[in-house]
Amino acid sequence: MTQARFTSRLFALTVLASTALWLGGCGSSVKLDDKASNGPAPIVNAAPSGSSGNSVPSSNVAPVVVAPSDNAGADTSLPRVIYFDFDSNVVKEEFRGTIDGHAKRLMAAKGKKIVIEGHTDERGGSEYNLALGQRRAEAVQKSLTLLGVSPDQIEAVSFGKERPAVQGSTEEAWAKNRRAEIKDR
């Protein structure tokens, strides 16, 4: 991927809010593109207020949950998450079927590309965990390429501990967060 192409992609997907800076006593602002084409939809609270004629302000809150912007399940019903033991990047036997399934569909469609995201639990430093998550993603990548998938179809990346699947500091939460997710491009 060229640097120029990546730059444009980064800016196309870039962040939502434009924020005033007051540095050095003079105002300036960060130029940010606000069309987040792939990002989560903006949360719009459409709950009516005062329209019912009720004289008491309603304390009722309609919870709005914006679906995550991932594409899990886009074109297959195969499981897309592989879990790891503590401090391990070994793809366990129980995920053999998942790996085989993804290998078959990728070999059947050579133009198809996937991203494998490695994740860790919350313990330890963010950068070291980023490297550990990368190792997990690359372990899944390797088990796919060993079955014949072209490395060009795969990008292994890591989120380290930055994007846990489950909140919390229990053994259970940690086990759910030590994972690799297979996502279609």
């Binding site: 997907l13 963010s126 070291y128």
Partner: protein
Amino acid sequence: MQLPVSRRAALSWGALGALAGAALWPLSAAHAQFRVEISGVGATQIPIAIGRFRDEARAPQPISEIVKADLVRSGLFKSLDASADKLDEVGRPPLSDWRTKGADALLAGSIAALADGRFDIRYHLWDVLKAQDLGGLSLVVPAGDLRQAAHRIADEVYEKLTGDKGVFATRIAYISKVGRQHTLVIADSDGEGAQAALTSGQPIISPAWSPDGRQLAYVSFESGKAVVVTQDVSTGRRRVVAGFKGTNSAPAWSPDGRQLAVTLSRDGGSQLYLISSEGEGLRRLTQSAAIDTEAAWSPDGASIYFVSDRGGGPQIYRVPSAGGNVQRVTFSGSYNISPAISPDGRYMAYISQVDNGAFRVHLMDLASGSVKALTDSRDDESPSFAPNSKQIIYASRSQGRGVLMTTSLDGRIKAKLSTPQAEVREPAWGPQSANPKR
């Protein structure tokens, strides 16, 4: 945090907060100002009497209160209120009275609004014990720089009375998270005057100041993976410095500001590379089958300290920045990460996991190799030195929430900087005289 010291003081920031909120608060209420708490006492505290500056109420910032809070937060001063004396920088204060009241030093000043809208702040410092005039200064600044002017005065007082350079007029960067929103924040060294440099729905980690204080490098996940970006702080102009296939992370500026050490997975694994600050001339620095990450330059630019698990668990190693033999630096503990080298080159701060599983800031004297833990907390991360090498800022957790702490190098003086509603982490202390303004 439990500290083996009895004194515990929470400073009052009422007047300050209200004013900051009115005029200079670009961040939402969720980023309300830091509350500073101090635990621990230095070996000696200098008693200083600080008078309310004449006509201070006419300026939008409580100058003498900011100076006072800075000095007290350093742990090296205790403040005596001299407001009743109606002092300024012109008259000669009753020094013998203040000697009787126990003051070693006295600070007084005045503020005048100029016709062009700027403010003229003048101050004078006296050594009460020697009945000696230690000089003063006049600063003319726009309203938006009044806080910085107050920090500058605190720096002058600190240097005159302790002999060390002050760092109050510096800035810090950190990441705050509220809900799913991640913000790269820049604030004064006291946590006040916070401003959002970048807001994103995806994580931001590892901010690093360029040596001239004009740019920040950081890792942004906004494109769906980790990419190293630099951002000019005053213009907001951004550039992808490392956006290669795979993960791009852990930026560290060389002391001359021309290069960045980064961790890339483009060739498999996580390895160290050097790249120009323009994102050109990529050169691989380490060659291992292990994780090599978290580069930190020595101040002379000759060496790079980094974390590697080549020996099993993560330990800190050193490699010449021109490439060459790798030497192991940490030997005690089985999990040592996140090295930071003091600007004077004498110390390395890092995070070490201790026997009970806690992650704590440790300090190594690089000449002797001796190590000591600086905290007794559980979840410390991301140590970063103040530019005068006298303090370290780091992230920790308190009552289940991310907080920022500062500690002196002997671990005795700590201050907590925390936002009431936001999760804060990944602090980075900016260099001296960032964006000189006067």
